[in-house]
């Protein structure tokens, strides 16, 4: 136990000293493994893990979903989603911010990345909000919060990585994300409601649209619906594995981008290269985390934690609640993906041992990641928004996200208390099989 705590302390020290997280995990993992099992075994482990992770077929789902997200972002589909949402709820007070959130949820159905969702929506939704006289505080924070829905509504990069790490069926995870995603959009809209109640000038109402416009706008989203139906629908129906669905989705997105003439050779090369770089960066973190996890698995940490839980006869839900609070606290200061990769090997056995469904825990993990992405000071989505809207002062953004963070914590509590919200759809769809 002591050596594990030391290792975690060393890791955090290295990471906060600014060593890239991937290398910090790699270094501590190699050293720790060598301490437990000797240097030759550790060196062997490093090479084997790196090579095996590099040529893992199941993991090829990651670049394909990233590519799909980047392609749909270029194809102009977020514009149509926003227009449709606006036609229905834009005339409410704060309606434009709510439209943004609903459009984010819709975009999340074809994009597995929160950052891409937030960035795309900034370009689409921020100008109209400003035009209508929205405050920067509400406009920017609504996009930051809505953007996190990208990883909850399937497809989702985090779910894929969680699924592969824990051998949980990705199709079931994808199904489990749908209802919590709708709940999330609803709660975030309530947060907008609260924000405009506090500051009525922050989000004035837009114009009401006649029903003819509404139906026309709704028909405009057929592309998103088709892509979701083919790719994710195929996974739900059991026609595709996750990788096949991702490949199909990416190809579909490619065709859409082609027919909308948003692709030139240089744009295509850009999109591909951007996706390749993101993939490479994620895989370095993944390899670092795997090397570190191999070491952790040789220590007594996972067992000790289970003994601890048993000895104190803690209520199972309390244990998971405690884990979630650790995540929320860690998530304010840490990068979310590495946080998950580091802790899941330790927490997962405990959760399964308590008799919980790994799919449910996976959804909770995604939700805490979402909270981490918009909670200051270190929140990925906040950084994306700051970079794209440099004139919005950071403190303004930090204050603006407060109601959204509260809404997210409420959602976490609801999902914690009612596992059925996450588990109902997968059980109805009866997605068969174990593993990927």
């Amino acid at each position: 136990m002591t050596e594990t705590l030391l290792a975690f302390a060393a890791l955090l020290a290295l990471a906060f000293a600014r060593i890239p997280i991937a290398f910090a995990m790699l270094i501590v993992g190699i050293a720790g493994f060598a301490w437990e099992r000797g240097l030759p075994a550790s060196l062997d482990q490093l090479a084997q893990t790196t090579f095996a992770a590099g040529i893992n077929y199941e993991l090829s789902v990651v670049p394909l979903f990233i590519l799909m997200g980047n392609l749909v972002a270029r194809a102009g589909m977020s514009q149509e989603l926003f227009r449709a949402a606006y036609a229905f709820i834009g005339h409410w007070r704060g309606g434009l911010a709510m439209s943004t959130i609903v459009a984010c949820a819709g975009f999340g159905a074809i994009c597995g990345s929160s950052i891409a969702t937030a960035a795309t929506m900034t370009r689409v939704a921020y100008p109209p909000m400003r035009q209508l006289g929205y405050s920067d505080k509400l406009a920017a924070s609504a996009i930051a919060a809505g953007g996190t829905l990208g990883i909850l509504v399937p497809p989702s990069t985090i779910m894929v990585i969680y699924g592969i790490m824990t051998e949980t069926n990705i199709g079931r995870l994808f199904a489990a994300g749908v209802l919590p995603g709708i709940l999330a959009a609803f709660l975030l809209c309530l947060a907008v409601r609260y924000a405009v109640w506090r500051e009525p000038d922050a989000g004035p109402a837009g114009e009401s649209s006649p029903w003819a416009t509404r139906w026309r706008a709704l028909r405009g989203v057929w592309g998103v619906a088709a892509l979701f139906a083919v790719s994710i629908g195929g996974i739900y129906a059991g026609v595709f594995t996750a990788t096949e669905g991702a490949g199909f989705g990416a190809f579909g997105a490619f065709l859409f981008a082609l027919t909308r003439q948003t692709l030139s050779w240089s744009v295509l090369r850009d999109v591909l290269l951007e996706s390749a770089r993101t993939t490479s960066m994620l895989f370095m973190i993944l390899i670092g985390a795997l090397v570190f996890a191999n070491f952790i698995n040789f220590t007594s940490m996972p067992r000790d934690l289970q003994h601890f839980v048993e000895r104190f006869a803690l209520h199972p839900t309390m244990v998971v609640a405690a884990m979630c609070s650790i995540y929320v606290i860690l998530g304010t200061a840490m990068e979310e993906l590495s946080m998950i990769l580091l802790t899941v090997p330790v927490f997962f056995p405990v959760v399964v041992n308590l008799g919980f469904d790994p799919v449910w825990f996976g959804i909770l993990v995604v939700v805490v990641v979402e909270i981490g992405m918009i909670s200051p000071p270190v929140g990925m989505n906040l950084f994306v928004i700051s970079a794209l809207l440099p004139h919005v002062p950071t403190p303004t953004l930090f204050r603006g996200v407060a109601p959204f963070v509260v809404a997210d914590v409420v959602r976490l509590l609801i999902l914690l208390a009612f596992p059925i919200i996450s588990l109902w759809l997968p059980s109805v769809l009866r997605i068969a099989g174990k593993g990927y």
Binding site: R18, T120, T122, V267, S275, L282, M380
Partner: protein
């Protein structure tokens, strides 16, 4: 924390017609024409491989579901395309200082300190990359010695582990050039930054 060197603009994709986008910064492995050329070659390889993966998956699945005729060995081809993709982009990510870093403490540190911090930190990264390259090279030697191949297509492992080792070594070189940049003062510590992740 930050990752992509282009301030969020690179990864962050917007809708093309509505918003003009800044042109993405070209990848260069290190300053000079050779570095630019190497960056272009690696970038083209990575982009082509990813495109091939997408097309291969699509053709394989359509073939299997519609014509009961999958691509022979698609599974194994995808595996090696994956590895090539990840490792050929690794030097590019490294050259952009694109690895995810926690930089919450940056605003509390003076600039002169940040510069030497970068020197030390990047040296450690260089060492880690070089170490990985070395171990992959050793693994590749054992792959070649034992004639390790895949089951269906009998693709030899050796050349690929060697390729991964070379790419990791290239990334280490790119990283070393960054260290030198900080030491010589040619490279400045950047202030505000963003971007990466899930």
């Amino acid at each position: 924390m930050r990752a992509s060197g282009d301030g969020g603009g690179g990864r962050a994709s917007g809708d093309a017609p509505a918003a003009p986008r800044p042109p993405s910064r070209p990848d260069t492995l290190f300053p000079g024409r050779l570095g630019a050329w190497a960056g272009w070659v690696l970038g083209t390889v990575a982009a082509t491989v990813l495109f091939a993966m997408m097309v291969l998956t699509f053709v394989d699945v359509t073939g299997r579901k519609l014509f009961v005729h999958p691509v022979y060995g698609a599974y194994e081809i995808t595996e090696f395309l994956m590895g090539t993709l990840i490792f050929s982009a690794l030097p590019l990510v490294t050259a952009r200082e694109g690895h995810v870093t926690i930089d919450v403490l940056d605003s509390f540190l003076p600039v002169w300190f940040a510069r030497w911090q970068q020197v030390v930190v990047t040296t450690i990264s260089t060492a880690a990359l070089a170490f990985v390259a070395w171990r992959l090279w050793v693994l590749s030697a054992s792959h070649t010695r034992t004639h390790e191949v895949t089951m269906t297509l009998r693709i030899p492992h050796g050349p690929f582990s060697r390729l991964f080792a070379v790419m990791a070594a290239l990334a280490a070189v790119a990283s070393l050039v960054i260290v030198w940049g900080y030491v010589s003062g040619a490279r400045q510590v950047r202030s505000a930054s963003t971007g990466s992740g899930s």
